[in-house]
Amino acid sequence: MSWDKKLINQANKIIKQYPQKRSALGPLLHLAQSKDGYISDDSIEVISELIGITEVQVKSVSTFYSMYKQEPTGKYLISVCKSISCEISNSSDVIKKVQEITGLNNNETDEEGIFTFEKVECIGACGGAPAIQINYETVEGMTPESTESLFNWLKENQPKVIVADILQEKFGGTRSFEWGIKDNSGTIASVPGFQNFNTVGESK
């Protein structure tokens, strides 16, 4: 098995929470992603063995959901919203800017493995459109100019932990609403931040 003991233990803990093993598939895929940054075929084999379904069934689920990445992503996953609210607030300019800076098309990763660019559907920040996510940490009220400075900052500092509130403070514009919970922990990889899977940054 290509998973170490610690990861297997963690997986077994997750599996135990469900009456049927196969129900743990979703969280296990996140666990796999926390390991590699994407769902590798090796991980699929491990998961299939752990929960007793075939590899291709795991593959089927993992390729259906777009947040399970099928290929390694860069250090920073840039998700720009292209849904209606953002679109009418000029997200296409933001997208154009991102593409200009990174030179990437949709779902591409640069050669250095720093940026992955994707266009996504609604990320739930319509009030603060246009919105953009760095490693799933949301910044609202973006303009092409703030996008440029955001990228300059990312390139220069290459921060390990990305925290939404910090990004918002530095580069964001209008906010949809005051977020109830201060999100200070952020994420440490280009995967969603889950406390369970050790993908959140340390809280400040």
């Binding site: 075929d41 699929i44 075939t54 590899e55 291709v56 069934q57 593959k59 089927s60």
Partner: protein, 771 residues
């Protein structure tokens, strides 16, 4: 509960089963609703939207998919309204957005639901001008199945079949949206014993088989319904031939037997019929070499042999003859010899079975109504694949499953109890009395039980089976299937006066060697664990006459070899399956070369002997078979069996004549069994599946492998100078300390499993030097 209710379809009132889906209820009343994804034997998904119909709802008329809508009383349905037509046109226009219009080069064209329904319900033209989806074409998803993904309309029939019915979901949808495709996991091919069914139920030409691809157009095919004689299940099949060549076998939905499905061996193990190496002329061995001899000369020579040795003529029969041919041999033997003759059947798993009057005989449908199914037999997935599907189906519908023995581990996941090495020792003897098995007791006492009982291994002593059967018979309402798995074994039991096994043959022939031995469609040297003994006996016999399709290890020892017709498609007759259900075997292709059917050969021989023959034609023989048969109400004559009311076959009673007295006495040190695919002479000569049975391997669990100081991978198997290279594979379902040998691999039967066999890993240097 099922209840007939009134519904109104297209203004006509019909009676419909309130438990059925609308699409099925309409079908029953002759109203066809177009569909792609819905299949009678699969769960509905409502995937394709082709079956949209308009129903009246409290909020007015609404379009609903009829494959996910159940019949309700007074439902008003319109299947042909303008709205429905528009919906159907829309669905088809969408489906044809990406479906290539390559019908002229597509195998499905001519029998393609998409093509047919586009003609009947389609819009006539498309507004789509953009580029269609493209995929690499075709990709092989297994050794025998090919997939053209751009043709796929994502109906999920194949993926549902492999998940729901065969239980080996190795194909699934991957990706999503307009990128969705059916595929396997990399390096995990769709190696299912039932994969051919997906080709048959695919409503477009996306799935094709290597066997039939580009071989014929459907409108050129001749078709006839027949019965598969591959195992004792006796699936109803449709034979397709063109220009006198067998090209395809399809499953036919026989509700009582195979319900439309076939195993891949039944489906593809016919290609040997067209094989160049098939026997076409009679052969005589002259100076250790076979030379062609005319049938007339052959009959003359045999005549003299038989006349001189009237009581010393014996018969070793294979299991692939028709009832009529068994009856013919029976008659033949009675006519040429003064004493009653025994027939030896080439099947290592033969024993007297459980046919006593106080044990009632099961049908497959009993599996569905039973409270509990108890299995102790050889692996049914390997040897009776469609019975395996029926068991799975029954368990899915709530029947309890209890398995004894180390076989049938593929059913372990759905079995409530799997009694393996804790309860049963390495020679398949019970370590515990059945009444002491609490779960078994609870599941059996006072319940309806259907048991599938047979030898788990050629070496198994039937004592423990007796214990189990008498326990079940005393404590439950038992119906039993004797799981003899080879071909038309049950026809042999019914139509021969006395059937014996190979251990009997060894014992009997050692005492009294026959002068003339007829070996008919049997290859015991290539398939029996008694091969060494049998070889030495056969070598001593003066005159062996082999009637067969090919030259193989056994008839290489013969003095005369006579080409025969194959039961697959070259003769007419009847077949009796494991439930004693008789059905018809039909002919669709002519005899190759000078091949005869068994009864033609026998009647020629008899008339040369000056005996009167009253079984010249297969029809006369059939009348005889039907007369002798137990079921006198529904006689199994061709005429009766051809009636549509007898489509499911006729259950013909259970009088059997098995008289085995000797058994293999050695205790096996190894766990042996037969796999579906093997090195049989027919499979070897069927191109598309020959490779599937040729790989040599043995299996053991990891701890056994470690205990023996071995590693999984290439190994040598060695005993008494026979050294074969093989693969050692880890299989955790094999009990501790046992090594599993699939005995239908080339030369594996030559090992003496009662003695130690040396297994050693092949080192890397050896592998290199071999290469």
């Amino acid at each position: 509960m099922n209840e007939m209710v009134k519904i109104n379809v297209n203004g006509i009132e019909i009676q419909a089963d309130n438990n059925k889906l609308l699409i099925e209820a309409c079908e029953d009343s002759g109203i066809h609703i177009p569909r792609f994804c819905w299949h009678k034997r699969l769960d509905p998904v409502g995937m394709c939207r082709m079956c949209l119909v308009e129903v009246d709802t409290p909020r007015g008329k609404a379009l609903v998919p009829s494959c996910t809508t159940k019949v309700t009383p007074n439902l008003v349905v319109d299947t042909e309204s303008e709205v429905v037509k528009k919906a159907q046109e829309g669905v088809l226009e969408f489906l044809l957005i990406n479906h290539p219009l390559d019908c002229p080069i597509c195998d499905k064209a001519g029998e393609c639901p998409l093509q047919d329904q586009t003609v009947s319900y389609g819009p006539g033209e498309s507004r789509f001008v953009e580029e269609k989806r493209h995929f690499e074409k075709p990709i092989s998803i297994s050794e025998i199945i090919l997939l053209d993904r751009e043709r796929c309309i994502l109906c999920a029939r194949c993926t549902r079949f492999s998940d729901e019915i065969s239980g080996d979901p190795l194909i699934e949808f991957v990706q999503r949206g307009n990128k969705t495709e059916v595929n396997t996991f990399p390096n995990e091919p769709f190696r299912s014993y039932f994969s051919g069914n997906t080709v048959q139920i695919c409503p477009v030409g996306a799935l094709t088989s290597t066997s039939y691809r580009f071989k014929a157009r459907p409108w050129d095919l001749k078709a006839t319904t027949s019965t598969c004689n591959g195992c004792t299940v006796g699936c109803t099949v449709e034979l397709n031939a063109s220009q006198n060549k067998m090209l395809r076998i399809l499953g036919v939905d026989n509700d009582s037997v195979n319900q439309g499905w076939l195993c891949d061996k039944g489906r593809y193990n016919f290609e040997f019929l067209n094989n160049q190496s098939r026997l076409k002329e009679s052969l005589e061995k002259v100076n250790e070499k076979f030379e062609i001899i005319s049938n007339k000369d052959l009959i003359n020579k045999l005549k003299n042999k038989i006349l001189n040795n009237e009581n010393k003529v014996k018969f070793l029969l294979g299991t692939n003859l028709t009832n009529e041919e068994y009856a013919a041999f029976n008659e033949f033997s009675a006519l040429i010899s003064k004493s009653k003759s025994d027939f030896y059947l080439s099947d290592d798993y033969l024993f007297n079975g459980y046919f006593e009057k106080n044990i009632s005989l099961a049908t497959f449908n009993n599996l569905d109504t039973a409270d509990t199914i108890v299995i102790w037999s050889e692996d049914i997935k390997e040897n009776l694949p469609i019975l395996y599907l029926r068991v799975r189906q029954a368990v899915k519908n709530g029947t309890k499953l209890i398995i004894l023995g180390h076989n049938n581990s593929t059913l372990k996941d759905i079995a409530s109890d799997f009694y393996s090495s804790d309860i049963i020792d390495e020679n398949f003897e019970l370590k515990v009395q059945p009444e002491n098995l609490k779960n078994l007791k609870d599941a059996v006492i006072g319940k309806n039980v259907t048991a599938i009982i047979g030898k788990s291994s050629p070496y198994q002593n039937k004592k423990s089976l007796d214990l189990l059967v008498s326990f079940l018979n005393e404590n439950s309402n038992l119906s039993l299937l004797n799981s003899f798995s080879k071909g038309n074994s049950f026809g042999a039991f019914q139509n021969l006066d006395s059937v014996k096994g190979l251990p009997d043959l060894c014992k009997d022939f050692e005492e009294d060697l026959p002068e003339v031995l007829f070996i008919v469609g049997a290859d015991p040297i290539g398939s029996s664990v008694l091969t060494n003994k049998i070889t030495s006996i056969l070598e001593k016999i003066n005159c062996i006459v082999s009637l067969d399709l090919f030259i193989h290890q056994t008839n290489e020892l013969a003095n005369y070899v006579v080409p025969m017709n194959s039961t697959v498609s070259e003769k007419e007759g009847t077949f009796t399956n494991i439930e004693f259900r008789s059905s018809k075997i039909n002919k669709i292709t002519p005899s190759p070369g000078k091949a005869l059917s068994e009864n033609e050969f026998l009647s020629n021989l008899l008339s040369s002997l000056g005996k009167s023959t009253d079984f010249l034609s297969v029809h006369e023989l059939n009348t005889k078979v039907a007369e002798n048969n137990f079921n006198q109400v529904n006689k199994i004559t061709f005429d009766e069996l051809d009636k549509p009311s007898n489509f499911d076959g006729i259950i013909s009673g259970k009088e059997v004549n098995i008289n085995c007295t000797f058994f293999i006495e050695d205790k096996s040190l190894y766990y042996v069994g037969r796999k579906l695919y093997g090195d049989s002479v027919t499979q070897r000569n069927s191109q598309s599946i020959s490779i599937l049975g040729s790989k040599k391997y043995i299996q053991a669990n990891l701890s056994t492998i470690k205990t023996l100081d071995l590693e999984a991978g290439k190994c040598y198997i060695e005993q008494n100078g026979l050294k074969l290279s093989s693969e050692l594979i880890i299989n955790e379902n094999i009990p501790d300390g046992l090594i599993y040998f699939p005995i239908n691999r080339r030369n594996f039967v030559k090992y003496n499993f009662a003695e130690k066999i040396n297994i050693s890993n092949i080192s890397n240097e050896d592998i290199l030097s071999v290469q």
